[in-house]
Amino acid sequence: MWLTIYYIFCYLVFGYTMLLIAGYIWLVFMSRLAQKQLDINLPDDETIKYLMQGSPLTPAVSIIAPAFNEEVTIIDSVNSIMQIDYPDYEIVIVNDESTDRTMELLIEEYKLVEVPYDIAMRVQSKPIKRVLKSTDERYSKLIVVDKVHGGRKADGSNAGINVCSNKYFVCTDVDCIIEPMALYRMMWFVINSHKPMIGVGATMLMSNACIVENGKVVEAAVPSAPIPMFQQLEYLRSFLISKLGWSRINALPNISGGFGLFDTDVAVKSGGYDPMSMAEDVDMLLRMVTYMKNSGQDFQLALVPKVCCWTEGPGSLKQLARQRTRWARGLFEIVSNHRKLFFNPHYGPIGGLTLPYLFLFEFIAPIFEMVGFFFTIWLALTGGVNWSAAFLIFGTIYVFSAFISFFVIFFDYKLKAVNWKHTKASYLKLLLATLLEPFIYHPIITYCSNVGYWRFIVNTTAVWTPIKRTGVKKRS
């Protein structure tokens, strides 16, 4: 009987692995098709700007950036956001009752005064205490919202949604460095879509090794420290293969909370961000999709394959573990809260394809890997391993993962997603990360995911601990 179970398990693992490989190949194929389409439909930045900047039809955008205890970086960050090149936008900074001098600094620097503001609480958030605007005309785009402490970014974002007045809003973190052309690139997809565009995602990368000058990234580089270097490769893979591939069939499962554009009306009607969620970005997108599908409306989702935003990623193992444990909890939450959408063709390709893929290959994979790891140890101890076959299968998986990462490097070069300063050195570092990742980085991520699932199951109180920022290299 045990032998039968053993064989069933072995074939199950084999079938699962083959399916996973097929899934990845399919995504690579889809992202290649998406690239071909973008080759024709996505012009260079100058052309986009030429067409959009003088037109009264260019849609206005609100940029929402919640801030909590950011006294060290807040002025630099706001100045950086203000450098965005776009004809019509407003910046909404939401102060989540900071206990440091964040608010005072903002008031002093931008000469803010309290203004009467009629705020319709369209989505749930903690009460807004006051709204401030600048008396200096140079900062007329800036609105600062002072609200009661909510403790989560989602709550701050919701307050920003309540205050913003434009048809589209971009949600970002106050410490992100936004590319000056980012809004043009994102809005290009909006003005080109004949269906209502409800969300546009943008490629984000690590700013850890970049050099920043006056709030702009002037030299993009791959970090040399191992943890950020692996993450750089992982982010590239996620955006240029996975998300780009899904966007080809209008089934983007996630628009990153770090930098994503949404239709304000649809976001409001679907309830905005959930302040209790650990994966509030995926959660809101899925609710928006549910709303559109249930109300019988067609919609479009898109991804900009060029880097639009730089963020500082966790630099140490401890911080990485904390972040990934939280993400895993978020994934579990998504799987349990939106189970109605899974394998449900009513919700189009997202329900029928993306979410099943997410469930089978993102959610279950860490569990499979963990079980497989212990099972192999047990087999090794009992002498049940055919070592030559085992090495060959391990070699196959290793070569395949290298093959996927190679594709990312290839796509990045072709799409010119990032304008790396030292091209050869950057690609060599990415290549090194490709070769080492399966041995060093991947086991850590698998472990953290399983810890996250476990914490969700035993219902440990979730604590949102912000990543400790060390700051990017600055050149004045």
Binding site: F14, M18, I21, D39, I40, N41, E46, T47, K49, Y50, L51, M52, S55, P56, L57, T58, P59, A60, D88, V113, V115, P116, Y117, D118, A120, K133, S134, T135, S140, V190, I191, N192, S193, H194, A389, L392, I393, G395, T396, V399, F400, A402, F403, F406, F407, I409, F410, Y413, K414
Partner: protein, 425 residues
Amino acid sequence: MGTISFIRYYISLFMAYCKFLFAFVIYKFADYPDEVKVAAMISALCVMIIVVMILVLFVMSWKNKRTQRLRDRIEKKYGKGMEYIVSQEASELLSEEDIERAFGFDRSELDGPLLKNNREKHMFVEIFYLYFISKRSELSKTENSHTMLRMFDIPDYLEKEISLGSMKHKANALSKMRTFKLPISPWVINKLLNSKYMRVQRLAMYSNVMSSSDSALDYFETDFFDKNCCIKDEIELGFSLQRRRKMGLKLPNLARWAHIQSNEKTQCMFVRLMRRFNEIEYCGELKDLYNDSKKKKLIEEISRTWGYLRYIESEELLKKALLTQPDDTKVAIMHALTRLATGNSLDALLDGFKNTTNPHVRYEALRCIYNYGPEGRALFQELEKNSTDADKKYFDFFNNPITLEKIRLDKEQAYHPSVETVFNG
């Protein structure tokens, strides 16, 4: 050995190696279980693809370097001349000799053409395009650019690309010609209108709207834009109509074009364009559409257009509609009544303020009353005096200079007056 046969030779060599690798894998793992065989095949396939990718990366890198070298060479040789052509110094009509001087060459001394092959021409167009869209002064004469492009045989090259190139080349060349405002032969446009690619068809249609003669334009009164219409179409059509007007050509009857379409979004697009280009003579033609339509957005756009274009005859129709339309449309109608500024609509605006509980509509009604001349201002003050605590917040907006600045933000202000400037000019 020619380049193609050289490449063919290496491809066949690579294919032979792949065949050998597969045969070797099958032979080597013949005694192993099936899963191992599958794994071995996958590994072999992955390795082969990785090798191909590395080779392609090298080729791409070599090609990029070559292109960059060409770009640098052309930029160095002609960059100064291009900059001069698009600068304000070229505000007067220049002769070919003047342009030659600016570029620093004498054609009589040259043997062959200035640009030797299509690669050089392509690069020249790309560089000049960047200068044209990013550095061009309003004062520079487009005719100078045309003369310069003709000197380098660019119009012929672009027309050839349109006729013979792939879809990507066609679209690229057509959009370049449109941007440089080069005349495009009608036969080329007609041919492209029958293209199987929607993108090429659209570009051809924009070019047609931009440059065809007045009589030829009626021929294109079709529901062409009904399918898959987006904001970019409106931007491109706006660009074409603007160019048409500058060339002294008559604009099409956009009200009739709105009639022809069945899609609400497309109808709205033409009504908006009408307002942008001050097409007041056709405003009356929108009355049928206004009366018959149940499309909320369309009614909103027509109301706005009548308001912006001061079509006084529509005032009674607007007042009647104010009582029956939903909130969003009410705001548009109130703005239109304010912009008409006849002095007869104050009661209607007051009704608009009183007969709703929607705070946005109430605020907008108040804004219109505030801006409705001295009578409106008097009524506003009276309303402020008698306001309840709940209504006080609406009046606060008008007493604060910062928020007032915000509400004055009107996207169409560049083309038409906002409600704040109707009476004051």
